[in-house]
């Protein structure tokens, strides 16, 4: 596969360089919302949608900024776009599914400070992806985030029943689990070049 191929761009973001397990992006929701499977799934969907919208906007914005030589404003404008996209999703979720709105709680507005989203916008700029590549990259990253979140949720549901020493309950155990997951994903590393 050629690094520029759309299928490679997707696989790269989805599995090989998974945003959570290889780049350590979006760890707060990864540890915070991975308690239950269905919440994890919905969180993944919401994040993927925000990623898609902000990737789209970031691509357009970057063209404008480069055109007018305002690259130093990139960070500020990206974060403003992401914050508005999150506001949009928040309003939509509140209107369409109040139950989901309550389940996601504080983590919904916190998508703004989810580094995976700003990271995505920055990476696609650094890698100089075309419009189509950027879109595919954002969908791949969102799918990868959802996958990691779901896997973690499944593992943690199991772990609640496991008999472990009291001091390792909670965060320490979650980190060990995440380490094992990350180790598993390293097995895919041979698929890509970078």
């Amino acid at each position: 596969m050629h690094p520029g191929d759309l299928s490679f761009v997707f696989l790269n973001a989805f599995i090989i360089n998974n945003f959570v397990l290889a780049y350590f992006l979006g760890l707060c929701p990864f540890l915070g919302v991975s308690g239950k499977l269905d919440t994890a799934w919905n969180m993944g969907l919401a994040t993927t949608f925000v990623m898609f919208v902000s990737s789209l906007c970031a691509y357009g914005l970057n063209l404008l900024l480069v055109e007018y030589h305002l690259e130093f404003l990139r960070l500020i404008s990206y974060i403003a776009v992401i914050a508005s996209a999150v506001q949009l999703v928040e309003m939509a979720v509140k209107k369409l599914s109040p139950a989901l709105f309550r389940a996601l709680g504080i983590f919904l507005p916190l998508i703004t400070t989810n580094c995976a989203i700003l990271g995505l916008a920055l990476f696609q700029t650094f890698k100089e992806y075309s419009f189509l590549q950027s879109l595919v990259y954002s969908i791949g990253a969102g799918a990868g985030f959802t996958l990691a979140l779901m896997l973690m949720a499944g593992l943690r549901t199991r772990m609640d029943l496991a008999d472990v020493p009291a001091i390792s309950r909670g965060a320490a155990l979650s980190f060990m689990l995440a380490g094992l997951l990350s180790l598993t994903f390293m097995g895919f590393a041979g698929l890509g070049t970078h």
Binding site: Y23, L25, L31, I76, G179
Partner: protein, 220 residues
Amino acid sequence: MADLPSKQKPITADTFLRGLWEENPVFVMLLGLCPALAVTNSAINAIGMGGATTFVLLGSSALVSLLRKLIPKQVRIASYIVIIATFVTIVDYAIHALSLELYNALGAFIQLIVVNCVILGRAESFASKHRLTKSLVNALGVGVGFTFALLCLGSVREILGSGTLFGFPLFGDSYQPWVVMILPPGGFFVTGAWLLLFSWLKERRQRKVAKEEEAVHAPG
């Protein structure tokens, strides 16, 4: 807030130490984990990242604290983010000019300081409610605490993963580096191990306190 003297307690050592130890952003509050894990594959990177974050923390806390009466409540988060992004842009350009090596090692994570929840958390919960000096002292405490945590992770990972500390070899040539420790899984494992250590220390102290109380209340 001169008319509310009770709300503004004087600056004590606690203002500084709280962020350093009791409310350590990484090990206790579990905030700012993304940079804490991503760039700590060597001690130098850890210090660079910690220093950059501390600078942004100090700058944004100062500005938020100065502007706290001017920023309307409804748009405060957006204003804080813009303030933080400004300081991050400064740091980004400064590191680029000062040390290209560090800039390449930290990569996009310098710009990602914007979304470090530690900084927004400080702005929202402390700097927006306190005077300039107190906010600065508190921000410095949290910044040092963050750097300390990063250094804890970075030094362990570098020693195990490359057999060096700050680039100086520690072991003889026969040492087989434990490469997985500088790769992503190592970040999770080392953080997990530190958390285990801290919860073990906490539990031991609690048991000690309980035992002492028992001894005091014991009859005779």
